[in-house]
Subunit: 411 residues, 2 copies
C-alpha cells in the first residue's frame, strides 16, 4: 500500500511537471489546468483566464512535440477541452506565446523564405482554394454578413454592426481608388462578389472579377443576375494568372495571402501589364510586423499554400515594377473585431453546423476563428491596405482628406 | 579650300554625332543643343523645352563618361549653360532619363546594397552633416521659410504658401503622433528646431531634440530662448546614436536619408529602447519606388554618405524589432512643389549669394534644387511618412479620420 501510494504520487508529480513544461513552451499563459484524473492546478500565480483540460497524457506530449499542430489536432478531436470564454483563452495563449518568442529576426525570416520555395502552381492554387472556399456557400451564409464578405471589415464608428462595417470597408476601398462611373476595374480574388457588385452598383464602374472557386463564382453570378448587375460585372472562374485586361483600377482583397511569396513578382508583372499609367491599385492583405513562416496548423488544416507577408515582403510585388506606394493603412484592430463577430455568429449556429459537418469540424473552426481574432489582437497578425500607382503617375490625390469626407464618391 | 571645307564639315558632323550620342544616353530629351561654335540643332523633332549649350567639346565627353557627375560638374563651372526655364529643363532631362532606364530590378538593388557597405561612422556622419548644414544659417535664411524648415512641406490647400505649408506639415505630423500635453518627445535630427519648438508651443509636450550640426543647434537654442521655450525643449548637439531617453513619441524628419542603409538596424534598436510600449513613432524620409544607388553627383557634392531607401529597405529599421507599421503616406507631389518654391526663393537672391559664395556654388545649388524638384515630379524620388508603434500596442487610433478633423489636437 505504501509503495503504491508513493508510486501514484510520483506519477501525479510527473504529469504535473510534464504539463508545466509544455506550458513553459507556450510562455506560461495565465490559465488553469485540469488533468484526465481530475487534478486541477494553475500555471501561474495570476488568476486564470480559463481552464484547459487534458483528457489524456498523449495530448500533453502532442503539445510538447508541436504546440501549434498538437493543440489544434487535440482540441479538434476533443482530447483537449477549454472551459470558460474560448476567445479570452485564445487571446491569453497568443499573448503568452508572443511574450516568449519576442527575440530573433533572421531565423524567422529564413524560415519564411524557405517556406516560399514551394510555389503555388495553378493546379495547386485551385486545390488550395477548393479546400477552404468550396466548403459550401450554405456553410458561410450561416455566420457571415448578408453580403458574404469574408475579409476584414472597417468599423468606422464605434456602434457599427458587422454588416455595416463590411459596407464601410467596401466604400473605404472604393474611395481610395477614386472610382468614377465608366471606369474598368479588375477585382482579383473576388470571393462571393460583394465588392465587385458594390463597385458596379454604387460607383457605376465595369468590373471583371476573378476567382477560381466554382462554388463562389456560381453564387456571385446568380446574385449579379438577381441584382441586375450582370451587364456591369463579369465573373471569370479562373486563376488570377490568366488576367490580361487593361484597367483603370486594380483591386485585390484577401487574395495575396493565398498567392505565396514565390509568386509575388509574377503578380506584380501582371498588374504592371494591366493597370493603365494613371490607374490606381489596392492590395488588401493579412500581414505581419516581421517575416515569419505561417502557423503550421493553419497551413495544414485551414489555408494550404498560404503565406502571411511582412510589409517588406509585400514590397516584392511592387518594387520590381517601380510602382509608387501612395498610402498604406493598417487595419489590425478591425480584423480582431471582425473575427470576433464571426466567432459570435458561428457559435450561435454551431449546433446546426455540427449536425452537417460533425463535431471535429466545428471545434476546428472555432479554434481558427478565435485564434485569428487573437492573432490580430496580440499583434502577431496585421492587416495592410496598400494603395499604389504606376511609376511617375502625377494624377494622384493631393492629400488623403477625400477619404474622410461625407459622401465622397459614389452615386 | 575645298579640302578645308570638307574637313570642317566632317568636324561639325563629328561634334553633332557626339552630342546626339550623349543625348541618347540620357533618353533623348526634348531640348535643343547649342555648340561652342554657335551651331544649334534640336535633339528630337518635338519642340524643345530649353536649350543646352556646350561651351567646349570636353563637356560633351564628360557627359558621356558620367551623365550625372559630368553634367553636374560642367554646369557648376559654366562649361554647360542652360537657356530657358531651368526647372522645366531639369524636369525634361529627368523624365527622359527615367523613360530610358525603366528596366532592371536586381542590378540597381545590388548597387544599393553594395553602396551600403561603407557605413556612416559617428565621425563620418559629423563630417557629412557639417558639409551641408554648416554652410551658414544666413545662407539658408535667404531662401527657406521664416521657421527654417528644410524638409518636405504639406500643401493641404491649393493656395497654401510655403510658410503655411511648413506649419501644416508640422501639424500633420503632430496629429499623426497624437501628441498630448506633458508627453515626452524625442526629435532625432531636428534641423533648426522648428518642429521641436512647434510641438512644445502648440501641443504642450517636452522635447529632447538631437542634431550634430553646431550651426543649427546654436540657432535653435537662441530661438528657443527668445520664444521662452527653453524649458520645454532641450537641444542636444550630438549624434543620433547617443539617444538614450525614454519617450512617448519618437519623431525624425529628414534624418534617415543621412543614416545610411548599414545603420538602419541600429536606428531601429535605438527606437526600440527609447519608445514606450504604447508610444507612437514617425519617420519622414525621402524614398524611392525601388532600391537604387543614390545619384553620384548628389553624394559627391551635396549629401556625402546619403542614401535614399525604397520602402522595402526602410522596413529594415522596423521589422527586426517587430514594430507595427500603422500608416504610410507618400507626399511625393508636395516635395516637388516645396523644392520648386525653394528654387524660386533662391533665384530671387542668387545675386547676393553669388557675392559671398561665388558663381559655381550658386550654379551647383540651382542644379540641386531644380534636380530635386524634378526627381519628385518624375517619380524618381518619393517622400514617405511612416507611422509606427511597438509590437502589440492596442492603444492605436481606430481610424485615420482624426488626422483630417478641423483643429484636431493642439491647444
Amino acid at each position: 500500500m505504501v509503495v503504491e501510494t508513493s508510486q501514484s504520487f510520483a506519477g501525479q508529480d510527473f504529469d504535473h511537471r510534464l504539463v508545466l513544461w509544455a506550458m513553459r513552451l507556450v510562455g506560461n499563459p495565465r490559465i488553469s489546468i485540469r488533468l484526465w484524473n481530475g487534478d486541477e492546478f494553475p500555471v501561474t500565480s495570476d488568476s486564470p483566464v480559463a481552464c484547459m483540460e487534458f483528457r489524456d497524457r498523449g495530448a500533453v506530449l502532442a503539445l510538447i512535440r508541436s504546440p501549434s499542430l498538437g493543440f489544434g489536432g487535440c482540441y479538434s478531436k476533443g482530447r483537449i477541452e477549454v472551459h470558460g470564454d474560448f476567445l479570452a483563452f485564445a487571446n491569453e495563449i497568443t499573448a503568452a506565446v508572443t511574450r516568449k518568442h519576442n527575440s530573433g529576426y533572421y531565423g524567422p525570416k529564413l524560415r519564411s523564405l524557405l517556406y516560399a520555395l514551394r510555389p503555388n502552381t495553378t493546379v495547386r492554387s485551385k486545390h488550395n482554394v477548393h479546400h477552404h472556399y468550396d466548403l459550401g456557400n450554405d456553410f458561410y451564409k450561416l455566420w457571415l454578413d448578408k453580403r458574404m464578405v469574408y475579409t476584414c471589415a472597417y468599423f468606422d464608428t464605434a456602434e457599427a454592426t458587422l454588416a455595416e462595417a463590411q459596407v464601410a470597408k467596401m466604400d473605404h476601398v472604393c474611395r481610395k481608388l477614386k472610382l468614377q462611373p465608366g471606369m474598368k476595374v479588375i477585382d482579383a480574388g473576388c470571393g462571393w462578389g460583394a465588392l465587385a457588385m458594390h463597385m458596379a452598383e454604387k460607383y457605376g464602374v465595369d468590373v471583371i472579377a476573378y476567382n477560381n472557386s466554382s462554388e463562389q463564382v456560381a453564387y456571385a453570378r446568380e446574385e449579379a443576375t438577381e441584382r441586375r448587375l450582370d451587364r456591369k460585372v463579369t465573373f471569370v472562374e479562373d486563376d488570377y494568372r490568366t488576367i490580361n485586361q487593361r484597367c483603370d483600377a486594380f483591386v485585390s482583397i484577401g487574395m495575396l495571402e493565398h498567392v505565396g511569396l514565390a509568386n509575388y513578382k509574377l503578380l506584380g508583372a501582371l498588374i504592371n501589364r494591366c493597370l493603365k499609367p494613371s490607374g490606381l491599385g489596392l492590395i488588401h492583405s493579412i500581414g505581419r510586423s516581421f517575416p515569419n513562416k505561417t502557423d503550421a496548423w493553419i497551413v495544414k488544416h485551414i489555408f494550404p499554400g498560404g503565406h502571411v507577408p511582412s510589409l517588406g515582403e509585400m514590397m516584392t510585388v511592387f518594387e520590381p515594377y517601380r510602382f509608387s506606394i501612395i498610402d498604406v493603412e493598417n487595419l489590425r484592430p478591425h480584423y480582431a473585431r471582425t473575427c470576433a463577430a464571426w466567432l459570435q455568429n458561428f457559435e450561435s449556429v454551431a449546433g446546426d453546423i455540427e449536425k452537417t459537418y460533425g463535431k471535429p469540424f466545428v471545434r476546428m473552426w472555432r479554434l481558427y476563428l478565435a485564434g485569428s481574432s487573437a492573432g490580430f489582437q496580440s499583434g502577431t497578425l496585421q492587416l495592410y491596405q496598400v494603395l499604389f500607382t504606376p511609376y511617375g503617375n502625377n494624377k494622384v490625390p493631393w492629400t488623403r482628406e477625400y477619404q474622410y469626407l461625407e459622401n465622397a464618391g459614389g452615386n
